[in-house]
C-alpha cells in the first residue's frame, strides 16, 4: 500500500472493491503514524486505546461514494476530544481531557472517521506557524530541516492521515498547507461551528480543512459545515454539495491580483516566480486576470496582531490553575495565578499576552485597539468592493518558503511575518484557500485565493482545475 499518494476517493474505492478491510487499513495507518512520529514529531498524542475504540465504533457503510467512513484523520490539538487529551500545544494543559467533543468531532465520528491523533500546534494556535509548541518542533517531510507549520499538515504530507482539521486565526492553517505542499481551506467565518475549539481570538479563529486535493476537502466541508446552536457565531446558510461544485471550466472567472503585491516585505524570488507561473496557468484556462487596488491590505498583519493579542489576553485569562491544567505551588491565590501562568505558558505566548494587556489599557485602547478595529472595517470594505469586481483575489500564501527549524525558535515577532497575505481573510471572515505550488521541489509553497463569503465551492473548483495533470511525487517516508 502506497500511503503517501492515497486520497479519500482511493480508499473508498479500495473498501468497495474489497482490496482492504477497516481493520487492515486502520492498523497499517496507526503503525505508520507511530513510525512517522519518531521521525517528524507530527503528533502530540497518539493513543492506541482511543484509536481502537474509534475503529470498533464505526458502523457506517464503508466504500460508499462520497463517504468518510473508515478514513483516518488528524485534529489540531486545540480541538476538544472526549477521552483523548487536548493540550493546546501548551504545558499548562498537559493533562487536560475535555468532558465533551467539539461539534466538528461529533460530526466526524458520526460519519465514521477514524481520528488518528492530535497534531502538534503552535501554543494555543497563536503565532505564524513557526512551531512554538511545548511539545517540540515538528519536521517537514519534504525537508527535515524546515518547519511544516502545524503537525496536522505534516501528518497528511507524510501519509499518516488523509485529512485534518486545524484552527486558522491569522493564516496558520494555510501557511502550514503551503509549507507541506498540500491544500488548506479556511472557510467563511460562521460556516463551521467553533464549539469545542479552544481559540485564542474568537473573532478571527475558524476551523479549517487540510487535505491533498479538492475532492477530499469538499467531502469534509460538506460533513462539518452548518449551523450549531452552541456557537452563536455559526450561520444558518444552506450547505451545498461541494463535491458537485468543484467540476467545470474556469473560463469566465475573474481573478484579481493586488497592485504592488511584489513589494510585500520578505517576498522571496522563488515564491514570486511560482505565483506568476500559476497566474499564467489560470490565464491559459480562460481566467481573466485583473489588477486590483486594495491599499490597506498590507496593514492586515499588524491589525490582526493587535486584535488577536487583545482577544487572547481576555480569552486565555481563565488558564490560571483553578479549573483545569497544571497549578504551581503557591502560598496564596494571586501568587498561584502568576506562578501557574508563568511556568505553564511559553515565552512567545507570554509576550503576546502582555502586549494584549498593554493594548487593552486605558492609555492605548483608543489609539491602538480601537484604531485597529477601525482599520478592520476599512480592510473589509476594500475587500468587499474588490470582490464586486472580481470573483476572487490571488496572492502568494506566504511571502517566503518554509523557515528553517534553526531560525524558527528564535524570538518570533508578535506581528507574524508570514501573515502578510493570509490575515486579511481572517479580519473579513472571507473564505480563503492555499493551493500547493512548486511541489516538484523539496520546498513547496502556496498560491492563495480569497473568495466571497460562502463561495467555498468556487475556490475548490479552481483548486481542482489546477491540480489536474499534476503528478505529485509525495515524499517517501
Amino acid at each position: 500500500m502506497n500511503f503517501s499518494n492515497l486520497t479519500i476517493q482511493e480508499v473508498n474505492h479500495m473498501y468497495k472493491e474489497g482490496q482492504t478491510t477497516l481493520n487492515e487499513l486502520s492498523s497499517k495507518f496507526f503503525d505508520r503514524a507511530k513510525n512517522v512520529q519518531d521521525k517528524y514529531n507530527a503528533f502530540i498524542t497518539l493513543d492506541s486505546d482511543y484509536y481502537n475504540n474509534v475503529v470498533e465504533d464505526i458502523s457506517e457503510e464503508l466504500g460508499e461514494d462520497h463517504s468518510l467512513a473508515g478514513i483516518p484523520a488528524v485534529l489540531g490539538d486545540n480541538i476538544c476530544t472526549k477521552n483523548l487529551r487536548t493540550t493546546c500545544g501548551s504545558k499548562i494543559m498537559e493533562n487536560y481531557i475535555s468532558p465533551f467533543n467539539a461539534q466538528v468531532v461529533d460530526k466526524l465520528l458520526e460519519a465514521g472517521v477514524i481520528i488518528s491523533g492530535k497534531g502538534n500546534i503552535d501554543e494555543f494556535g497563536a503565532g505564524d506557524s513557526k512551531g512554538s509548541s511545548y511539545y517540540g518542533h515538528s519536521k517537514n517531510p519534504w525537508n527535515e530541516k524546515i518547519t511544516p507549520g502545524n503537525g496536522a499538515a505534516c501528518a497528511i504530507a507524510s501519509g499518516t492521515a488523509l485529512f485534518g482539521l486545524a484552527s486558522d486565526a491569522s493564516g496558520n492553517l494555510r501557511q502550514s498547507a503551503a509549507y507541506c505542499g498540500i491544500a488548506g481551506l479556511k472557510p467563511t467565518y460562521g460556516r463551521v461551528s467553533r464549539y469545542g475549539l479552544i481559540d485564542y481570538a474568537p473573532s478571527l479563529d475558524q476551523i479549517g480543512i487540510l487535505a491533498k486535493n479538492a475532492r477530499d476537502i469538499a467531502l469534509v466541508l460538506a460533513c462539518t459545515a452548518g449551523k450549531d446552536s452552541r456557537d452563536v457565531t455559526s450561520l444558518d446558510n444552506p450547505v451545498p454539495k461541494y463535491i458537485n461544485e468543484i467540476q467545470g471550466q474556469l473560463e469566465g472567472l475573474k481573478v484579481g491580483i493586488v497592485k504592488n503585491w511584489e513589494e510585500a516585505g520578505s517576498l522571496e524570488n522563488e515564491v514570486k516566480k511560482s505565483f506568476q507561473k500559476e497566474i499564467e496557468t489560470l490565464k491559459e484556462k480562460g481566467v481573466k486576470i485583473i489588477e486590483v487596488d486594495i491599499p490597506s491590505l498590507f496593514h492586515s498583519s499588524t491589525v490582526t496582531a493587535i486584535i488577536g493579542a487583545v482577544e487572547a489576553f481576555s480569552n486565555l485569562a481563565n488558564f490560571d490553575g483553578v479549573r483545569f491544567g497544571c497549578r504551581a505551588e503557591s502560598k496564596h491565590l494571586h501568587e498561584m495565578y502568576i506562578k501557574t501562568r508563568t511556568e505553564g505558558l511559553g515565552t512567545y505566548l507570554k509576550r503576546f499576552l502582555t502586549f494584549g494587556a498593554m493594548a487593552s489599557s486605558e492609555k492605548h485602547f483608543n489609539s491602538l485597539f480601537l484604531t485597529a478595529q477601525k482599520m478592520r472595517t476599512k480592510i473589509i470594505k476594500e475587500l468587499q468592493k474588490t470582490l464586486e469586481e472580481v470573483d476572487m483575489i490571488a496572492t502568494p500564501t506566504v511571502p517566503f518558503q518554509a523557515p528553517s527549524l534553526e531560525s524558527s525558535g528564535k524570538d518570533e515577532g508578535i506581528t507574524g511575518s508570514a501573515d502578510v497575505f493570509t490575515s486579511a481573510a481572517n479580519l473579513a471572515g472571507l473564505p480563503a484557500i492555499s493551493i500547493p505550488v512548486n511541489i516538484d521541489t523539496s520546498t513547496p509553497t502556496g498560491f492563495q485565493l480569497m473568495g466571497r463569503t460562502f463561495e467555498e465551492g468556487t475556490l475548490l473548483k479552481v483548486l481542482h482545475s489546477l491540480e489536474i495533470n499534476k503528478n505529485i511525487q509525495w515524499p517517501t517516508v
Binding site: P99, A317, T354, A357, M358, S367, A372, K378, G429
Partner: protein, 95 residues
C-alpha cells in the same frame, strides 16, 4: 505612541505573568516596531466605525428552557484541586 519598560512590567502584571528581563527587552523592541507600523495607518482610520466581529451576532440569549448541562463531577474532573462540589484554591490573603 511610545512605550517604556515600566509599562511592559505593568502589562505583564495585568496579564498575571512574570517576564524575564530578556523577555521584557525583546517585547519592548517588538512593541516599538509595532507602534511604528501602526503609526502609518492611524490617520487612515479616522471617522470610520470599528468592526468587532466579521458577522453580525444576533443574540447570545437562548429560549428559557431547561436543558441538560455538564454534570458537576465532569466540570470538576480537570481541576488541580477539588472536592465533590467545588474547586479548591489557596488562601486569598497572604499570611
Amino acid at each position: 505612541m511610545t512605550v517604556s519598560l515600566e509599562e511592559i512590567k505593568k502589562a505583564a502584571w495585568d496579564a498575571r505573568l512574570e517576564l524575564t528581563s530578556r523577555e521584557e527587552e525583546v517585547l519592548l523592541e517588538e512593541v516599538t516596531q509595532l507602534f511604528e507600523k501602526a503609526a502609518t495607518f492611524i490617520k487612515n482610520a479616522e471617522g470610520i466605525d470599528p468592526t468587532f466581529y466579521p458577522v453580525s451576532i444576533t443574540s447570545v440569549m437562548r429560549e428559557d428552557k431547561i436543558q441538560p448541562s455538564l454534570p458537576v463531577s465532569k466540570a470538576l474532573s480537570n481541576a488541580p484541586d477539588a472536592d465533590d462540589f467545588c474547586f479548591h484554591v489557596p488562601r486569598i490573603i497572604e499570611e
